[in-house]
């Protein structure tokens, strides 16, 4: 391990390394390893923050702060764990700190910021017209998600957008893994009800 680390360092090749290797190198003080880790994970941190806050500048601040915190806590990071759940837990705390500072309740619905959130949606298809219906559905879903209380929104977003496993979700939310499924289902139920309500309205 030490030897391959040394070789990678000689080759100056950190971009292709696994997270584990990069964490080891970052701990050893290698700046490039830190930068590669940051580039690899900050977008997901940004997106989670955006989905919770609905505001681009706030999301940037939170993501950047979360990356800083991640690097300052690297010493106590268990390298056998995956980075994303650890980082997401930090993002989540930062988001709640921000709400607290602005004296908003953590049960926050996004309201108008939810509309702002959907403006950051991009349609990946080369032929937008063909996928217009799917695109419309996506906009409706994110508007409905924005209307959910934060605790419901975050669990759906973690599972369905960020593709976290139940055990990763349990780690991020700091809840027993046995409760993830029921919480998730409750949130999905509520989301579906919102979408149904909108359709019949």
């Amino acid at each position: 391990m030490v030897e391959s680390q040394g070789l990678a360092a000689l080759a100056g090749d950190v971009a292709g390394g696994s997270d584990q290797e990069l964490v080891d190198q970052a701990r050893a003080g290698r700046r490039e390893a830190r930068e590669t880790l940051a580039r690899r994970h900050r977008q997901a941190a940004y997106l989670l923050a955006l989905q919770m806050l609905g505001n681009r500048d706030d999301a940037m601040d939170v993501a950047q702060d979360a990356m800083l915190r991640f690097f300052t806590s690297l010493g106590s990071f268990d390298r056998e764990r995956r980075i994303q759940p650890w980082l997401f837990a930090i993002v989540r705390n930062q988001v709640r700190d921000l709400w607290r500072r602005r004296q908003r309740r953590p049960g926050e619905r996004l309201g108008e910021a939810g509309e702002a959130l959907t403006r950051h949606l991009v349609d990946p298809t080369a032929n937008p017209e063909a996928d217009l219906r799917r695109s419309e559905l996506r906009h409706r879903v994110w508007r409905a998600l924005a209307e959910l209380p934060a605790a419901k929104r975050e669990i759906v977003v973690l599972r369905d957008f960020h593709d976290l496993s139940y055990s990763d979700i349990a780690q991020v939310l700091d809840i027993p893994i046995g409760t993830v499924m029921s919480r998730l289902h409750g949130a999905r139920r509520q989301l579906r009800a919102r979408l149904g309500g909108e359709r019949h309205a």
Binding site: L47, F71, D123, P124, R134, V141, S165, S182, R188, L195
Partner: protein, 147 residues
């Protein structure tokens, strides 16, 4: 669900089924039930459609150059924090020397008074900035290792 449904398991398993997160026995129970129950089948299909929409969404993200400079390490952050106080220490020493020279060369009381007034104003300003910087250094939240 308003309709009659002979389901013998908790509804939350439908989400587990959707996520492919059930143990084999539960997965089988749900699958068998879905074959017979249109109500649950519809629910699963609707939840799946919403999940698919969420999953397939893309958001624009900041470009690389929009990100602030990369996180500083403890050492460089310390250097950053210490930079200002050092500059000010230099200003105080050098300025003090220059002022001493001016003072000894001042030719009358008026010149001395102007000098004293100007110097104490500037001195207070610097002191204020110095205290602010030291405060910021002391309360820098990133220095604390956060679990």
């Amino acid at each position: 669900m308003p309709e009659q449904c002979g389901r013998t398991f908790d509804e939350v398993l439908l989400s587990g089924y959707l996520d492919d997160a059930l143990v084999q026995g539960d997965e089988q129970r749900v699958r068998v039930h879905l074959e017979d129950c249109a109500t649950c089948r519809t629910l699963v299909e609707e939840l799946a459609a919403v999940r698919e929409a969420t999953m397939s969404s893309t958001f624009d993200t900041p470009r690389d150059h929009e990100w602030p400079e990369m996180p500083r390490t403890g050492a460089s952050r310390l250097a950053h924090g210490m930079g200002w106080p050092l500059v000010m220490a230099w200003v105080v020493l050098f300025g003090g020397y220059a002022l001493w020279e001016l003072w000894t060369e001042a030719e009358n009381l008026l010149e001395q008074l102007i000098l004293v007034g100007g110097v104490s104003g500037i001195g207070l300003l610097f002191l204020r900035v110095l205290i602010d910087r030291l405060d910021a250094l002391k309360t820098d939240r990133y220095r604390e290792v956060q679990k």
